[in-house]
Symmetry: D2
Subunit: 296 residues, 4 copies
C-alpha cells in the first residue's frame, strides 16, 4: 500500500506531467497513468505483437489521427466496417461536421445523418458509389476481407487509416464488413449483376497464426463489439495476452463481451494470469488522447 | 398531459396487470408498458415485417426460450455468432451454469469459462468439434451464412434457436459469424485442409429485399452491436421502420451505434418520423421477459 | 454449480411465477429472484429491523404506493427531502404529469418543471406556501427533523408516505431536509421573521440506537445518496447488516457511495461477512415493483 | 456547422495544446474543450458568482489539490460531509492508500475501509475523536453548519479544503453534515452528554441571498447529490445560472437529480435559456484535471 498523493495542476504543464501526477491518485485517474505505462511497455517490448481493436464511431469523432498514431506500434488491426467507411469517406474528400443540436426530423429534411453530436451529409453515399464503381474490377481480384481492405487503402486518393494500413502492411480484419457502408457498396454492385467472391472465414487463419507464432501478445480495445471479440477468440486458442488496455463505458452486468472486464478473460485463457492490464471506464475520445499523448 | 398514477401491487397479480399498472407511471416503468403495447401492435399488424436483432450473451443467461417465443412473430432474425454458438452448445446437450462467485484464475484451473455470473465448461469445444467434424460435408454445400446456419439448425440434435429458425424458415443473419465459436470450428476444418466457400456479402441481398418489399417494418433490438446495425442499414436504403423497441444499457455519449437512441435513426431515414418507438434502459434479462409476458 | 434453466413465458402468468422462473437464469434476471427471496426473508425475520433508504424522484415517477407498501415491513425510513416534498405536493391535492416530450424552454414558458419524463406545475409552490403558512405554529413546536416530518404527515390532508409514516409511527430521517422544497418553505417563514429551531444532529441518536439495539438488520436501498449513506454509517458503528438489497444504476468506478456495491460495506463493518445480499443494476421503477409483486 | 478536425498528438505537448486540439472533435472530446472555455469565461466574468458543488469521494481519490485550486475562483462551495471528513482526516495527518485488490472480508480483518480502489485505516476515527474531544468547546459556540465548518477549518492543524475555505472566507455549505464522519463525531459528544445547537435550516438564507444579489451565476457540479441540488434550488428562487459545467457518470433515465442533464434546469428556471453550459460524461478524476490544467 502506498499513500494517495493529490494531483496538482501546474501552469503550462505538459500532458506527460499531468499523467505522471495522476499516478498516485485513486479511481480513474490512477488508471490513466497505469494505461500509459502498460501501453509504453507493450510498444517497447520487442517480443510482443500488438493487437488493436477499435469499435465505435471513432473517425467521425475526430480520432482518425490518434488511431493512425497508434498504428505506428500496431501489428494487427481489427475494427468495424463503420469506422473504415467513415475513414474512406474522409479519404474521398468528404467531411464530418460539428454543429448545433438539431431535431432528427429536421436533419432528415436537410439530408444530414446524425452520429450523436456529429453530422454527415447523406450525399457522401454518392461519392462512395463512384469510388466503388470506378474501382470494382480491382476489388474483384480480392478473395478475403483483409485483401479487399488493403486494396481500398491502396486505391483511395486521400490519407487515413486504410491508406496507412496498406502502406505499412498492417493486416486489417473486419469480420462484419458486410455490416457497413462499404458492405452496402459491394451489395450495390452485386445487385447490378457484378460478381465478387470474398470468403467469410478466410481471414481467421492469419489472425490466429499471428497469435500462435508471437512470443507475447498485447491488446488494446477501444470499445468492445466484434473487434474485441475477434481478437479475444484468436488469443483463446493460442496463448493469452501479456498486456491489456480496455477503454469502454459499457456495463458488465448485462453480460455482453463489450462490457466484460479484461480479467474475465483469465478464466477463458484469453488473458494470462500474470498479465499487466487495466480497464478504463471512459469515453475513448477523452481517455485515449490523454493516455497516448503522455508517452509520445 | 395526463396525471401520473401510482403503480399498485396486488396480491397474486398477473404480469399483464403489473405492466398495465405501470402505464401511467414515469421514468422506465411507463416505458415498459409502452414497449408491450408497441410489441403487440407490430405483431398484430399483418402488413408489418418484424426484424429481431439480438446481441449480448442471451443464451447463457437463460433467455433462449424467450427468444424462441419471440421468433413466433419474427420475420427476420439477426444475432451474434456467440449467441448461436451457445445455442448450439445447448442443442448438443451441454449446459451453462450458475454458481458461486469465483476468482478467474481459479476458474481457469477448473476449466470453466466465465460470462459475468454464468459459467461454461471449456470442454464444450470438444463436443462442438465432433459435431462439425461429423457434419462438415453437409456444411460444405452451403454458400452463404444464412444457408449454413439453417443447415446447422437442421442437423443439430436438440431444440433451440437454430432448430426453430430452420423449422420455421426464419432467415438468420449473422454477418460476423467468423467471430464466434462456430467460426472457430469452421477455421479448424480449413486449417486441417478442408474447403468451404461461404460468401461474406451474399446475405445482404436477402435482408435488403425484405426491407424493400415489406409494407411496414418493425424492429426489436436486444443490445446493439452488429445485429442492430445490420438491420438499421437494411432499413436505411429501403424505408424506415414504423415500430421500434430497443433494450440496452449502453450510453449514447461515446457515440457508438449500440448506445444510440432510436430517434437518431430518423435523421438517417432508418426510422420513420411518425414511427411508434421506445428505448428501454434496462438489462434485457429483466425487461424482456416482463414486456413479453404481459402480452402472451 | 447448478445448470442455467431458461426463463419460460406462459399465458397469463403471475408475477410470482415469472420471478420464480427467473431463478435459474443468469445476469440480472436471477438477481431479481434473489432480491425477492432476501426481501421476503428479512420481512419475515422477527429479529430483524428493516432500514429502507429511498433516493431519486420516486414519487413523481408513480412509485408512491410501492413505497407505502414497503413501509408495511419497514422499521426505519430514510429518504430525500425531494421525495417528501413531492409526496406532500400530492397529499395537498396537486399532481405530477406524463406528457409529450417538450423543449425545456417551452416548458419554462408554460410553468412546467421537468423531472426526466414527468412534469409538475410550478404553481404547486403556492399550494405548499399556503400549507406551511397555515401550520407553521405547529411546526415551531418540533425540535428535530423526524418530529417535523411526522407533524407534516399528521397535518397534511391527503394520504401518502408522510401520512403513513406518521400513522404507523415509522421514524423518517432526512438529514438534508434543508435541501428540498420543504426546506425552502421553512426558509420562507424564517425570511419573513418567524422562528423555528430544528437541530441538525438530533436525529442521529435515534437511528444509531435502532442499529445498536436490534438483533439483526436488513437494508433496502433504492438509489444511493444521503439515504443510503445515513443508514450505512449507523450500521458501521453498531453492527453490520444481515440482509441487503440495493437497486441502482450508478457506476462503481467513480468511487461515490451511491454506486458502491454492497460488498464494499464488508470492509467497513457495515455489512456482515455472512450477510445475504444482492445488487440490482436496474431502474428502480422497473425492478422494485417486480421484486415486491412476487412476494405479495 | 464546422468540419470535425482530428485530434493530433504531438511530442511533449502541453495539456492546453491537447485540449485546444480536441476543440473540433466530436463526442466527449469537444465537450472537454467547451468545459475549459466556459470555466475560464465564468472565472473571468467579474459579475459572476461561482457556485462549486462537489459530491463523490474526491479527497480519497487524490483530488484535494484540484479542488483547492478551483476554490481560488469559487464564491460558494457546497459539498458532502464525506468529502469534508476525508479532508479533515488528511489535515490531521492521516492518509488514504492505493493498493492491491483485496477481498473485503480480508480488508475488514486488517482494519482497512475500502472506497472503490482506495483504502483508509479504520483507526483514523480515533484521531478524529481526539480532535473533536479537544476542540468541542469551540464548536459549541457555532450555531449553523457553515460556522462549524469554518471553525473546524480554523482549528485543524494541517492544510486542505476546510483550511482553505476558512482562510479565504469562502462559505462552505453541507446540508447533510449529520450524514458523515464529522456528524458521527458530533453525535459521539452528544451521546456523552455534551450540548451543541446547530440549526438545520439556518444556512439557507446565506446561499439564497448570494444567488439573489449576484448579477450572474456560474455553476460547476462534480457529481450530483445534495451539493448539486442545494445549489439548484437556491438558483430556482432567485435567477437561473448563466454558465454551467456538470461532470457526472450518472444516468438520466432513472430520473434522479444527480443524473439530470443541465438543460432540464431550464424548465425550472434554474438555468437561463441563453446560458452557456456543457454536460461531461466522465469520471471526474480524469476530466476535471484535464479541464482545469488547460486554463491554468
Amino acid at each position: 500500500m502506498k499513500p494517495v498523493k493529490a494531483i496538482k495542476i501546474n501552469k503550462n504543464m505538459k500532458v506527460s506531467e499531468l499523467v505522471e501526477n495522476m499516478k498516485e491518485a485513486g479511481f480513474g485517474a490512477g488508471k490513466i497513468t497505469e494505461a500509459s505505462r502498460i501501453m509504453k511497455k507493450m510498444f517497447n517490448d520487442k517480443e510482443c505483437k500488438v493487437f488493436l481493436g477499435v469499435a465505435g464511431a471513432m473517425v467521425p469523432a475526430g480520432m482518425k489521427e490518434v488511431i493512425i498514431d497508434l498504428l505506428n506500434d500496431t501489428d494487427i488491426f481489427v475494427t468495424t466496417g463503420a469506422n473504415l467507411t467513415h475513414d474512406l469517406i474522409e479519404a474521398l474528400g468528404e467531411k464530418h461536421y460539428q454543429g448545433e443540436d438539431m431535431e432528427d426530423s429536421e436533419l432528415h429534411k436537410k439530408g444530414l445523418d446524425r452520429i450523436y453530436n456529429v453530422y454527415m451529409k447523406n450525399k457522401v453515399y454518392v461519392t462512395l458509389e463512384k469510388f466503388f464503381e470506378l474501382n470494382f474490377s480491382e476489388f474483384q481480384k480480392c478473395s478475403n476481407i483483409r485483401e479487399l481492405l488493403w486494396k481500398i487503402g491502396e486505391l483511395c486518393p486521400g490519407n487515413g487509416i486504410l491508406k496507412t494500413c496498406w502502406k505499412k502492411k498492417i493486416p486489417i480484419f473486419c469480420p462484419a464488413l458486410a455490416d457497413s457502408g462499404i458492405g452496402l457498396m459491394i451489395w450495390g454492385r452485386i445487385a447490378a449483376g457484378k460478381k465478387i467472391n470474398i470468403d467469410a472465414f478466410d481471414d481467421m487463419k492469419e489472425i490466429i497464426d499471428f497469435a500462435w507464432t508471437s512470443k507475447k501478445n498485447g491488446i488494446i480495445y477501444i470499445g468492445g463489439g466484434t473487434p474485441k471479440n475477434f481478437i479475444q477468440q484468436s488469443l483463446q486458442f493460442s496463448k493469452g495476452a501479456d498486456y491489456g488496455i480496455q477503454i469502454t463505458t459499457d456495463r458488465a452486468e448485462p453480460g455482453g463481451s463489450s462490457g466484460a472486464p479484461l480479467k474475465e478473460g483469465i478464466s477463458w485463457g484469453k488473458m494470462k494470469e500474470k498479465a499487466e492490464f487495466v480497464d478504463i471506464f471512459c469515453d475513448a475520445t477523452i481517455a485515449l488522447p490523454l493516455i497516448l499523448a503522455a508517452i509520445r
